[in-house]
Structure formats: C-alpha cells, structure tokens
C-alpha cells in the first residue's frame, strides 16, 4: 500500500532512513522479543489474542487520526470524543431506545463532533490545533452534563458477545479493526478522494490550484476521525460493559503516537496505514507487557511518551 521507494542514495544515511521508515515494525519486533524473553506469559495464544482485542480500539482511533494527519491536521478532540460517544450510547441504551438505535446515535454523535471540527478548520480557516483542543474541552463537558459524571452500565448480551466471541479463533474486534484499516487504506491509496487527501496535506496551494476542493477534503478527514471515534466507542463499551465519562485520555496521545511511529508525516501528504497499524500494536504491546512483568502502571505513560519522542527523533532523518 505504501508507495514504492527506491533504495536510499546516500549509503551512510541508508540505515537511519530505513530505520525511520520502518520504526514501528522494527519497534514491534523488538518489544515482542524483549517481553518474550522477560516472561513466558507474553507470547501465548491467550495473551496475544487479548492484546489484539485491546489494540483494536486504539487501532480504529489511529485510523481516524491517520486521515486527519494526512491532510496536515491533528485531531486532539479524540480524547473526549470517544467518552462522549460512549456516554451517548449508554444514555440511549439505559433509556430503553434499543441497542441498534443507541449504536447509531453514538456513531452520529461522534461524527457530529468531527464535522464541527472540520467546518471550523476548513471553512473558517481556524487553526486545527486550537479548534480540536477547544472541542476536546467542550465535548468532555457535554459528556459530564449528559451523565452527571456517573458511569453508565450497558448490559447488552450482543455487545458482550462482540467483545468475547469471534469466528473460531478470530475475534470480532480484530475483524472490525481490520475492516476499518482496509477501508482507510483503500480510500487513501485506491481512490480519487485519497489522492486529494494526500495532495491537500502535501501542498494545499498546489492542490487548490489544481482545482481540488480542499475545504471539502479537509472536512472529510475530520469527519472520518469523528466517525472512527464513534466506532472505537462502541468497541470500548462492548469491552468494558459501560461508559465512564472520565476515561481514557491516554488514547489521545496513543492515537497520534501510533500514526507518527508508523512513518506518516505530521506535516501531511505522507500516509502509511500499515505503519500506523504497527504503531498501534507496538504501543498496546508495551502496555500489555508492562502489566505482565508487573512494572507499575505509572511507568506506562513514561514508556509511551519515550517511544513517541524516540520516533520523533528518528523521523528527523527521514527524507
């Protein structure tokens, strides 16, 4: 899916540039090797199966973030959009609106946040960073207002089955995450819209000059990220059995980190879906392994942040 790259021209830089491009897969292998040596519990069928299930949520979020990063934007509202959609799901479900309606409402609620972000960034030309930082706060407030700050339990056999079951050893979560990743890869690299997303991120003036409706393209990117938050929220509720309005702000950093680790440029125009998938798996493996070897969970944010800084350092050599 990634574009074909000729081998590096400068011999000395070759290894570093290659390391930058494949930071996430290389890191993934290293993390697997380290935890495999550290504990016999890591590389077991059960643990890997669970690891992939927890990675699915991050992966879906990262796919949305990938769309926004491709157009040289950033979506910080992810951190509160997921709890918001989860709360909408919980609210609707506990008010007896049925699961199907509740899920659709959750997806729409998350999509709406993305559309508003997109309109503010693309139409009103406001700075993406500030817009999504603002909506991060606004949306978290909405969530607290909706739930009065209480966790909403969602007792749905269907959702529980979604989290636990699958086709044979293949869990439903993997299937969903895989489909989302394939869809994003398809859109980015096989359709006109994808070319427009990459062009808008790569050189917005040139894209506009070529007659591409860059406003619409940026709106599509932010809306996609919103929708991805909605899908991730459904998975989250399925996995935890409820909606906690104060949950999971570390998913925000992780979703950006996965994309950066994957080799996409934060300046836009360069996307790697496979890289972002590897990035998400890498971060989730870190957290999983830390838990297994009994390292205090307080070290997890340190490790995640360290990996992100490392990726940023390596990407300096990417050219």
């Amino acid at each position: 899916m990634a574009e074909a790259q000729a081998p590096g021209l400068l011999g000395g830089r070759l290894s570093v540039a290659a390391a930058a491009r494949f930071a996430a897969p290389i890191g993934l292998v290293v993390v697997f090797a380290v935890f495999f040596i550290a504990t016999p519990d890591f590389l077991t069928t059960d643990n890997i199966s669970d690891l992939l299930v927890s990675a699915a949520i991050l992966l879906v979020l990262a796919m949305g973030q990938q769309m926004v990063v491709t157009v040289a934007g950033i979506d910080l509202s992810v951190g509160s959009n997921l709890p918001w959609a989860a709360a909408v799901l919980g609210y609707a479900y506990t008010h007896g609106w049925g699961l199907a309606v509740s899920v659709v409402l959750a997806l729409l609620a998350a999509l709406m946040v993305g559309v508003v972000n997109g309109l503010l960034v693309a139409r009103l030309n406001m700075t993406d960073f500030i817009v999504t930082l603002g909506s991060l706060s606004v949306v978290s407030g909405f969530t607290l207002l909706l739930t009065s700050g209480n966790t909403v339990a969602v007792n749905s056999g269907f959702l529980r089955g979604l989290a636990i079951n699958g086709i044979g050893p293949v869990r439903w979560f993997w299937v969903l995450a895989f489909l989302v990743a394939v869809l994003v890869g398809f859109v980015l690299f096989r359709t006109r819209t994808g070319t427009y997303l990459l062009s808008t991120g790569g050189n917005i003036d040139a894209a506009r000059g070529a007659g591409i409706h860059v406003d619409r393209i940026r709106l599509i990117a932010y809306a996609s990220s919103g929708l991805a938050c909605g899908i991730a929220a459904v998975l989250f509720v399925a996995r935890t059995g409820g909606a906690d309005p104060s949950l999971q702000t570390d998913l925000l950093l992780s979703s950006i980190a996965a994309v950066v680790l994957g080799g996409s440029s934060l300046f836009g125009g360069k996307a790697s879906v496979l890289g972002s998938v590897a990035g998400a798996l890498l971060l989730q493996s870190l957290i999983n392994g830390f838990t297994l070897v009994n390292i205090s969970q307080y070290y997890q944010p340190v490790a995640v942040g360290g990996v992100v800084l490392g990726a940023a350092f390596i990407s300096r050599f990417q050219k």
Binding site: R190, T191, T195, L198, G202, G209, A210, K270
Partner: protein, 272 residues
Amino acid sequence: MTDTPARTAGDPSPSGSAAPADPPLVEISGLRKSFGAVQALRGVDLTLAAGEVTALLGDNGAGKSTLVRCLTGVHPPDAGEIRFRGEPIRLGSPDDARQLGIETVYQTLGLIEDLAVWQNLYLNRELTSGFGPFRVLDKKSMISQSKDILSRLDVDVPNVRATVRRMSGGQRQSIAIARAANWGETLVIMDEPTAALGVRETAAVEALIRRLRDAEVTVLLVSHDMAQVLRVADTAYVLRRGQTAARRAVTDTTGDELVGLITGAVEGTAHA
C-alpha cells in the same frame, strides 16, 4: 486550411484588412485592473496568435503577473475585453479558464512533492474504473499514459513512479510544463519557467518550449531573459506601467531594443 500566414513574422498587423483568416486565439483590449488605489493594468492590448510562442516582457510592477492572473481567472478585470477565438468571454474563476483549455505553470509549479510523477500529471484528472462509490484509480493506464506524455515531449524523467521530491529543478519544471501542455488544449501560460534553473536545465526547458511550438501549442511566456525571448518566442510584447508599450516580431528586434522598451529608454509604438 488555405494559406496560413501564421508565423512568417515581420507582419505587425495580424488583424490586417483583407485576410479572412481565423481570429487569433486570444485578443485582449483595453484591459484595466486596480487594487485599491494601485492601477496595475491601465489599458493593456495584446493578441495571442494560435500556435505561436508569445513572450511577455516588462519590469517588476509593469503588470505582467496581473495580466496573467486576469487570463487565468484569478483576478476578474475591472474593464476591457478578452476575446477567445473571436468570442468575448468572462473569466470569473480558475475553473472557467481551465474549461477553455487554458493551463498555467506558475513559478511555484503546483506539484505535490510526495506524490509520484504520474499522480502529479493526472492531479484532479485521475482516470478511474468501476462504478459509483467503488470507483478505483486506474493506475495502470495513468502510469503508461504518463510515460507517453513525457516521451512525446522528450522530457527526461526515467521513472514516472518516483516521487517528485526525487526530481531535479529542471525535471520538476519540465513535469509541470508537460502537465500544462497535456491538458492545456488551447493555451499554456508560463511564468518565468527558467528563473530558478541552471544553464543546462534552462536549455532543456527551452528545448521543451520549442517542441511545444512545433506541436502548435499556443504559449504565453513571461520572461525576464531577453536572450531567451529571442531564442524561443515568435512575438514579444512589452508592458510598461500597466500599459502595452510595444509589440515586436522577434525577427525584427534586438535584445537592446527590448531592454530599451522595458525601461522606457526607447519610446514604444503602443497599441500595436
């Protein structure tokens, strides 16, 4: 076609009496454009003959860029007329110009560095196959036709799958020109195409412009380089302070005269 006195040069009045020939591709008369108190264009007259390379000369601030932007629909003119194949037209947006087959190569080139050469050649004109929402990029066709486009114009780009980032300045300029020439069915406008290039790359781009002329593409070339104008153009227009100062057939003029016309040292016979 009957006798076409196209570029037998030296004939200062193409709209001459008896010839019932086709109207020129573009005829601009009395074009005016102001930005607030600044009068960028104060009555420009200019004719682009089909299949010729017309050079546009002038000092900084003479109005060259504004004129180009009027022709590409970026700035609608305040007054005056633009006739296209004899018909008066209004260019309200770049899309209008593009629809008439007018393509422009700006100094910024408008290429997307991280996309492949073929993607840039087909930017916003992608070929697709399939139906409805499942329309998929037809990469194979675009890649093979990109090779054709470039080889037809003898542009030296070894691999159309490589990203533009890997190309030299001359290659980039050539790709941008090839793209404009491929889609610009009627007129290709180039804004100082060799300003940022070295000697050898400049020669390659000039050769490309000559090939466009051989292929009877109409070109408007904005340039600062007198020698270049004499090498590749058929006709030269000189703008001075927002007005047409002179029109010269390239065979009838010299670099010194053109410089004089630009600076005002030589009095132009305006409204040629």
